[in-house]
Amino acid sequence: MSELLQIPLVMAALAIVVALSAILTACAYLILLERKLSAWMQDRLGPNRVGPFGLLQPLADGVKLLIKEAVIPDHVDRFLYLLGPAISVFTTMLAFAVVPFGPVSHKPGEFPFIIAPNIDLGIVFIFAVTSLAIYSIILGGWASNNKYSALGSLRASAQVVSYEIPLGMSIVGVALLNHTMSLERILLDQAQAGFAGWNIWYQPVAALIFFIAAMAESNRLPFDLTECEQELVGGFHTEYSGLKWAMFFLGEYTHVITISFLMSILFFGGWHCPVIAEADSAYAGAWAVKVAVLLIKVSGFIILIQLLRWTIPRFRFDQLMGLAWKVLIPLATANVLLVMCVLEFGFDPLWLLPLSIGLFAGAGLIGTQTTMRGGETGSRRRGAEVAHH
């Protein structure tokens, strides 16, 4: 048995089984968690009838979606219609292949807590694959042959493409600091450097930009103009029912899980915790503690994302695009410039913390000149007075 496990492919297959089943179950239960959290925030209880505390609700939902009649409307482009949800699930599951979910080990007989180890371009791979996810929205909207869906998918494509840029650029700073693009190496570097080595201290602005851009990528509120009910019925998923609709949302929740993993791994030290899970902790069961620490951080981010859903009102489409192009991209560019300067001139990387805060303050001061002066209305009044005379 153990010689079977020495074969890397067998180990990889085992890792795939474990990771994918965990993700799919987690998606189902995240939907329940989202419903419960949303309910508690709104002074009501979530689903609590099916099983204790509604814990069997995802099962009931899954069974319902499975046995629902698979309606394919007459007026759709069948191939593209069926391809949309497939791409959604495929790309987001594939992106998870390079995300470590525990202490990664490359020795042949040990469980590698990553599906595809030793990929030096981990981050680039993830962004490349998740960029393909926009195809699912575009195809879903276009193939539905429905004006609302087409509008929704158009907006979604513009939004996702615009937010790809700050998403990638915010990570350039992290990649430069750690001299690697591989997620495992970044995690290991932070773990070895200890609590003060977490990238959040060196790149707070990049973390903020990444978080905002990642939420926009996965179409979560406040960026969910493309699937909000008040405007577009269902947006790109209006014409989908049953399991095809479930696949869209499986893809979305997997994307949320992936970005929470990325946030915790890239900026918050992954499985590192000051006393109990250091880089050289090797006590029996250390791997379980490390996995638990990582999962706690990931759940913290997921809960934060779900909290933000009901806290911030939805962005209007022009505000959304303005945020990406006029705020996040310049900030991310300036951040990369800062990192390059610090690295080139040999300063201590810890200088990045006050420099980042200064960058944020400076950008804020520049950008808020108009609102602070009561700018637009003031100029309108001055213009009106001039015109009146």
Binding site: M41, Q42, L307, L308, T311, T368, T371, G374, T377
Partner: protein
Amino acid sequence: MAMPIADKDVVWVEEPPMNFWESTFLPAIVQGLKITSSHWTDFKTVTEQYPEQKPVLPLNYRGVHRLNRDEKGRVKCVACMMCATACPAHCISIEATEAPKDDPLWADRDKYPASFVLDELKCIYCGMCEEACPCDAIELTHIYDLTGATREEMLFDKEKLLSVFDQTKDSGRDPVRTSRGRLSGCSEFTALPPLAPATAVKPDDRSAKAPSPGVISQ
């Protein structure tokens, strides 16, 4: 003649100026997060767990009808057809008949309904029949969860309506009501029980002399 608006009539409304921190909108987001997370932690939910917790209905809730009995156990209804006439959905069908002449129980009654059929499915539960009845015979109770398997089952005849009465007269939520302030000839009350006024009534007001002061009459 189109006059331009005078300058003194124009009010310029400007956005209040935000300071630097407010312009980043981050304090507003943090405040919002505090509000939403405080809702999580105070565990005050407004959900009613039906069917373990039944809703508390207002006192004059209009539910399933009943036909009242008087203190001798006879049906109060005199088959005057006022409820059938008043009903906007035409769901009441009454057949009047003479009271049995040789029965001492019915000595002071002329008419009573031989058949009184109320279609609970057609009814819109408006309460017009209850308002129209001069004898406080038909009333709407608080029963809201009425179900039936067939349409015929939901055609309540006299026996069924009287049985609703027997079930609900002691429930406390459906006292036998009258048209407050107006006692008709076939009502069994000679005086009304004291009722708290709906509005404050000053003693020198003209409405203080009404039988039930302060009641808003229909």
